[in-house]
Amino acid sequence: MSLPTRPAPAGRVRSFINRLRTGDEVAHLITLLFATSIFLVTALLVFELYDNSALPRHKFGWAFFVTQTWDPVFENFGALPFIYGTVVTSALALLIAVPLGVGAAIFLAELAPRPISDALTFIIELLAAVPTVIFGLIGMFVLVPFMRVYVEPFLKATLGFLPLFKGPLYGIGFLTAGVLLGIIVIPFIVSVSREVLLAVPVDQREAALALGATKWEATWKVVVPFARTGIFGSIFLSMARALGETMAVTMVIGNVPKIATSLFAPGYSIAAIIANEFSEATGDLYVQSLVELGLVLFLLTILLNGLARLMIVATAKRGTSQE
């Protein structure tokens, strides 16, 4: 097919100039410029984080990650308590959110009639839109007393022989932060998992049912394994959210840079210490140690997000192709 209205341009330069004059190439280049700026912003972000954490990287090296002291007065900084707090609270969050979230997604995708499923999904997605500082507010004034008065005494009475459930009950601490984080990430697991489950071809279910499987067997042994990669993707995605979540954790974790085996003990997380101390930090080494913590958090979440997106794309042709 050729366009007869335009004289055939001789050579690529002429054609380019022609398109430039008619505006097509201009529009192309302008939009391309904006699209490229996404790379620029990301590159600048990485550069700023790396460049501004040079001091602690040279002074502490890898020891930064295994040192337990955080002493701004004598400028001795170690990240271990914060990494520990971040990992423990995120693990707790997933422990709560994965069974609940995947269960709810199975209900919404396999059992509920479509209108009900859509309505419930809408509500769950609204939950994802609630600002996390509001979760923090609820956490501080509702969840913390609730944990201190009901949940923690119960756990101590029943599972108190484990070192995880020993020690005084404050209400604030790893456990409460983990529970709150769990509530925050459930909507992400539900909405992505449901989407992935709905993308499983109907034949798969019909074949299993035709072989005499019950509804649950068809779901658990055929549909869920089929969507496995995508569900793992959603879990990774919510793990990245949990690791980076700042406000809600800062408000309930207790902000004590200590490693404790008990889940009742107050702790600290990477995001929480940045939020609390960054604007008040004095001295380059102090500030840059906090930036290095930010860099660690950034790399962790990038890794998890990168993996998650690829996994979701692999199952549902979704994720990166449309949000």
Partner: protein
């Protein structure tokens, strides 16, 4: 054999009920949060909250007028910075993009979307606040604007892709250049979706606290100007008021939480309604 079949039936019923319970628990969480906020915040929400400045420390009463205006300022700046980049980038991906380069842009945008908001705060602090020697509304707006970019980009692309190819072909068959077809036919056809996408992304960054803590910070009076000086915002006020030791401040934090949540939920519900209505038509 019959015994085994009965057992399978029981497992079926129990597990399916459990999944229903999971869904119920998750959904009820929203209503608990909403109910508690309305109950607690509604009591202390008064006209003063919207019109008065915070009272000096120790006095009760006063409002958060400066934080409401500050949040508005920050969102306006964020929209001015984030929306053009996201929108134009989305147009590129949907209309011009090739395969590999587009995939890279999309993937980078998704990664940028997943960057913890507190890290975004550090980025703007080192890149903007330090060179400009101080907190400003501009720095806060930039932090939110950068968060806006990938979200707007992806939603714009998605809604432009939903515009039928026949519309583009029709415009070009009438002799329109490609850019003219995009500008006068494709974008108007998808504008409703694009606008709701922008609304949703603004609702999302409106509640962000962590990136503002050390970019626009907070204060207790009117902040004039955009380039210099702390600017209060609702989420940051909620954070500081909740952590304070005064009961009156706690009550105001609840009221502010109710206002913020109402705004965010209304934006979300409105956007969903617009989208579902245009989808059924």
């Amino acid at each position: 054999m019959n015994y085994r079949y009965a057992w399978r039936r029981v497992v079926n019923a129990v597990m399916l009920t459990l999944t229903g319970l999971c869904a119920l628990v998750t959904v009820s969480a929203l209503f608990l949060i909403l109910g508690y906020l309305v109950y607690n915040g509604g009591r202390d929400l008064s006209w003063d909250f919207f019109t008065k400045l915070p009272k000096p420390v120790g006095e009760t009463g006063g409002g958060m007028a400066n934080a409401i205006v500050g949040s508005g300022k920050l969102l306006l700046l964020a929209a001015m910075i984030g929306v053009p980049v996201g929108f134009m980038g989305g147009v590129y991906l949907a209309e011009y993009g090739g395969k590999t380069f587009s995939f890279l842009v999309r993937y980078t945008a998704d990664l940028l979307n997943g960057v913890p908001s507190v890290v975004m705060g550090i980025f703007i602090y080192t890149a903007v606040v330090i060179p400009m020697r101080g907190y400003s509304a501009l720095a806060g707006g930039l932090a939110l604007g950068v968060m806006l970019m990938p979200i707007v980009l992806r939603s714009t692309e998605q809604f432009l892709r939903a515009v039928p190819v026949s519309l583009r072909e029709g415009a070009m068959a009438l002799g329109a250049r490609k850019w003219k077809a995009i500008l006068t036919v494709v974008i108007p056809a998808g504008y409703k979706g694009i606008a709701t996408g922008i609304l949703l992304s603004l609702a999302r960054v409106a509640g962000e606290t962590a990136p503002l803590l050390f970019t626009s910070a907070s204060n207790r009076f009117w902040s004039h100007g955009w380039l210099h000086g702390e600017t209060a915002s609702l989420p940051v006020m909620i954070f500081y008021y909740a952590l304070s030791a005064y009961d009156d401040w706690h009550r105001q934090a609840w009221a502010a939480g109710l206002v913020l949540l109402t705004l965010v939920l209304f934006a979300n519900i409105g956007a969903k309604l617009i989208l579902s209505r245009s989808a059924t038509r």
